[in-house]
Symmetry: D2
């Protein structure tokens, strides 16, 4: 059964406690069918199951978002369903901190491919669809580094700044055509599987309110998506109240 | 009867179709008692009446927000009620465009007093209250000029940039203490009495969706106020989809 | 005897080891007569003497730069000489750090008057002169706080952000008319009498190269003044190499 | 004969009337041997000849700056000479304007490779050298798009924003180690062979002072290179006085 209210798309869905999954579950809860793109079939299927358990529907697509053909294939699946795409999010966030002189060309390139080139490939498809629909919201999830480059995050910041400029150019070109382009600046650590696995002591020290909770981020994405087009936000920051900035 | 959910405060309430009134009516609709500060008793009473007609309550206070004693008096009234202040907005927006060499010292000073000094006087009181409460959201309504100074708006931009820095400093100092400080960048023309009286042809030419609708702005203020403190926005822009930027 | 090459003007000349004095001495060394505005006759006369000892000339004017009539009087003196004004600098920098709730309205207002209103009064006069000349460079000396507001410098940052916006608006309006408007962001501590008196341990700890040397700043001001108008800089930062940012 | 004062390096040297050549000729004129990297042997040899005619010396290296091995080879040549490298500039500026939906992945990737990846490859080598020297200035030539993404320059802006973040991260990491990292924002059209060939009417309409003259840009690069390390500029804009911004 096709949902009356259309579909959503989230690129970069991984662990159950991750922002991609949280956005997908939020969009599903609101009644949208959700297309989820990720690299791990197992992880995607897990989220599909969770969504189905709530009586909603989702489609998992395993793809490499830095590969043009893979991205094209994702959108073929999406077009088959024929839904209006209400909202989409490019949520790939890949970071490899290193002192600059220890950052090799592969790292620099990979970070750009995942944080910026993938966003470009995604944008080409989604913006064309939303322009034709004359509606839709597209999110690009940025980070502190999108605005300020600090070691050991120089390579990451370079990639994220490239994605931010992409989002800004898209907003200027496609807002007048009815496409709501949003860039979020996530300034702080997200309380999810990644942080809990990679730096558990930090997570512990910050405490629950010192970390960005997944549902709280999703709540703001949805609120921004609800904006009527006479008053659109293009860029906003999100940070825990305790976070220095 | 005192509302269970506390009070709100809006500084800079004027015409019925103005952002101050719209914020007040939005906060009232959500169940908050609203303290409204403005210069015209007649205009304030009109909004009180509109709010009362919806079964809600409001208090009108005539005051000059650039005068320390007047501002103190407003907060005396507010403290008498003894409510929690959930949300407050400094919404004074005074603009006198002029070529720079025709901008006199009185204009430059007045714009600063209304856009920046008043915000400071308001902040001193509201931040102390919210810090004691360990909760509350305080909005500062900014403009395009807050970020970019362009003639003939140099004096206005100087004042607004001053207010933006004030809001930013407050966010850094009081967020960790539980006060949510928000700066909004209103980038475009608000569809209200001011624009309709001052440049009706422009309003006509832009059309309804080319202008920021009052209720749409209020909707976003409320959504930002709803953010849990683990994921607060400090700054966001709001503009019509057609607005070049 | 009137100098062939014209005059310079520095507003905010105080101690011998201060940026105002350093700019004045630099401009004098380049062959310009220098008008110096400050609050202390004694300090000004000291700099006049130093400049005269090098065979150059200067005029000291005691004035309160936040007072319109005083500023008018300074420019009367300047106009009497009838020189071309090659370069001018608004160099007043007044800072009173305090936690926000301990910042009173007098402090907030005074910081604005000295850092921003004085710049406005100065700008009104100097821009009119340089527009008529169709040449001239006018500097506004900013600070870290001009771009980022951090406690305990919120009031200072508000005033400096206001001055920055003023300079930006002036650049947009008067560059096409031949007036070079420059805003400098001094990001770090200047090695002068003020720092040495107020926080000598900090000065000691930073070491000579960890502090902005007066002559080094003046050298860059002069280099920017030398730019042909086909390639003007409007804004630049200056910081010691060791300074974190 | 090896110059006493060391060497300079310019990456991105093409036509005689281009910024790369102008920087090379400026650095040569100041007494530095100049290593010049470009894609056209003919063009490079032409500049070598011009430099030699002034009694100075230069080395031409044909290389693809987006290829890691080619860049390594350039630095092998440079290291052979054994000079101190006083100053270096990454000056590759490649732009292909297009509506977003007509920008293909090859264009997006190529612009990033030339404007950003090449800067990374260059930075890895030059920063290591200058860190060892404990001195040296490295310039990254940016553009309007480095700060603001506007169609039809979205792909270009994305690449340039990436390079800007790279430069900013480098400045934060290597300034304290004695390496002066500078990012310039060229805001306007450079009066050179490229503009004269590609849009001659625009060049004609702007007039000489409406375009950035090559020597004027080089003059500012040199002035910034002369800054003592107690007062370094990291970022500055350069635009013709008539240019709207």
């Amino acid at each position: 059964m096709i949902s009356q209210s259309g579909s959503a798309m989230v690129v970069g869905v991984g662990p159950e406690r991750g922002l991609g999954a949280a956005l997908a579950m939020c969009f599903a809860e609101k009644g949208l069918h959700v297309f989820m793109i990720g690299r791990s079939e197992e992880k995607l299927n897990n989220i599909v199951k969770l969504i189905q358990e709530t009586g909603r529907s989702a489609t998992a697509i395993v793809a490499d978002v830095t590969d043009e053909q893979d991205v094209g294939r994702c959108f073929d699946v999406l077009r088959e369903r024929g839904d209006i795409i209400q909202v989409a999010a490019y949520n790939v966030d890949s970071n490899i901190p290193a002192p600059f002189l220890q950052t090799d060309v592969t790292t620099f390139t990979t970070l750009w491919q995942q944080n910026c080139l993938g966003a470009f490939l995604f944008a080409k498809e989604i913006v064309a669809i939303m322009q034709a629909q004359q509606q839709g919201t597209v999110f690009f999830t940025g980070a502190t580094g999108s605005l300020r480059a600090k070691p050991p995050f120089t390579a990451f910041a370079s990639a994220k700044a490239g994605m931010r400029a992409l989002a800004q150019g898209l907003a200027r070109e496609f807002s007048p055509l009815g496409v709501h382009v949003v860039h979020t600046v996530i300034d702080g650590v997200i309380d999810g599987d990644r942080a809990r696995n990679q730096f558990p002591e930090y997570v512990e020290a910050k405490g629950q309110e010192g970390l960005l909770q997944l549902e709280a981020i999703a709540q703001t994405y949805w609120a921004i998506h609800q904006q009527p087009r006479c008053a659109w936000t293009h860029e906003l920051d999100l940070r825990p109240f305790k976070e220095p900035f």
